[in-house]
């Protein structure tokens, strides 16, 4: 190999290394990292939303009472809650959310006293979202907890 050829190969290697470094830099830069502010804002949104949901009146009852009824009385109550929240939470969270009634073990089935079938009280498209914030759970005394996760 002549000296000139060796120099050209050396130059090509250097240029290739520079190109790879540049690609690595661009890729690292373009990864969309959530800022601290965004996370704080999502925390406020999630907690505020769960508070509003628990207080809202549907016909003449507050949601927290309806949820207790869902555990204790009828499968229809659970389905009504699910329909109401499915429609209204979609209007609030366009980035995705996950809502669930869980027992203290994390299971998402409500075992109604009047029903043989278990009702799944879990919905929303944000269960597996890449990054999300969970509101402080609302505890239903002796029954379980209500979980709301909001995707960032």
């Amino acid at each position: 190999m002549k000296r000139g050829q060796a120099e050209i190969i050396g130059l090509v290697v250097v240029v290739l290394l520079l190109v790879f470094a540049l690609i690595f830099f661009v890729k690292t830069k373009s990864v969309d990292e959530d800022t601290e502010t965004k996370l704080i804002r999502t925390t406020i949104r999630a907690n505020s939303a769960l508070n509003a949901i628990m207080k809202v009146h549907i016909q003449n009852k507050q949601m927290k009472d309806l949820i207790s009824d869902c555990y204790e009385q009828s499968i229809n109550v659970c389905e009504n809650i699910r329909d109401y929240l499915n429609v209204n939470l979609d209007k609030i969270f366009d980035s995705g959310y996950y809502f669930a009634l869980q027992d203290f073990g994390g299971n998402v089935h409500v075992d109604n006293s009047d029903s043989i079938n278990l009702v799944s009280m879990e919905f929303g498209n944000g269960k597996n979202c890449r990054q999300g914030i969970e509101a402080s759970p609302f505890i239903v005394k002796g029954r379980g907890k209500i979980v709301l996760k909001v995707c960032t």
Binding site: R45, S48, N51, A52, K55, V56, N88, K91
Partner: protein, 170 residues
């Protein structure tokens, strides 16, 4: 003599080529550098605005002018009757100045009510309004920052879900 001239020309050509490659690489690097710097400045701006409007959202939720209370105890909700009457306060010039300073250069602040009017309500009043305009007005341009809130209707002793929205500067 002829041989020497040819070698000199070759070396000048090589130097020129190296210079051209160097300048091209330099220009590319500069373009990339300024693009990244510009993106970073934009991100910082968005971050600052985000912080500013997030804290304004929290401030508005906590203002006694809007906050609801039951039996003299503050609750985590907004009072719909206070929201409805707030624009009357702004007709006072001094108060208008005070709120202009407090809210800064936002385009508008309003609360959108998620579900429809109250059941069995025959009266046509604030409880049927799908939204309450608090300040300014919604414009076609400007980022919107929002937080869900609980809205209380004291005359009916009922709660609804609302979304407090702020339209900030571009």
């Amino acid at each position: 003599m002829y041989f020497k001239n040819k070698k000199g020309q070759l070396e000048i050509s090589i130097t020129m080529m190296v210079l051209v490659v160097f300048i091209v690489l330099m220009l590319l690097s500069l373009i990339l550098y300024f693009r990244f710097t510009y993106t970073e400045i934009e991100e910082t701006r968005e971050d600052i605005l985000d912080q500013k409007y997030s804290s304004l959202l929290s401030t508005i939720i906590g203002l006694p002018e809007f906050r609801c209370s039951k039996n003299n105890a503050d609750e985590e909700c907004l009072d719909a009757s206070k929201l409805h009457e707030f624009d009357k306060l702004l007709s006072d010039k001094h108060l208008d100045n005070y709120y202009r300073n407090l809210f800064g250069n936002v385009n508008g602040i309003w609360v959108e009510i998620i579900d429809s009017g109250l059941a069995n309500n025959t009266k046509k009043d604030y409880s049927d309004a799908p939204m309450s305009q608090i300040y300014g007005e919604k414009k076609s341009k400007g980022l919107i920052y929002s937080a869900p809130v609980s809205v209380y209707y004291p005359d009916y002793k009922r709660y609804k879900i609302g979304v407090l929205k702020i339209q900030g500067e571009l």
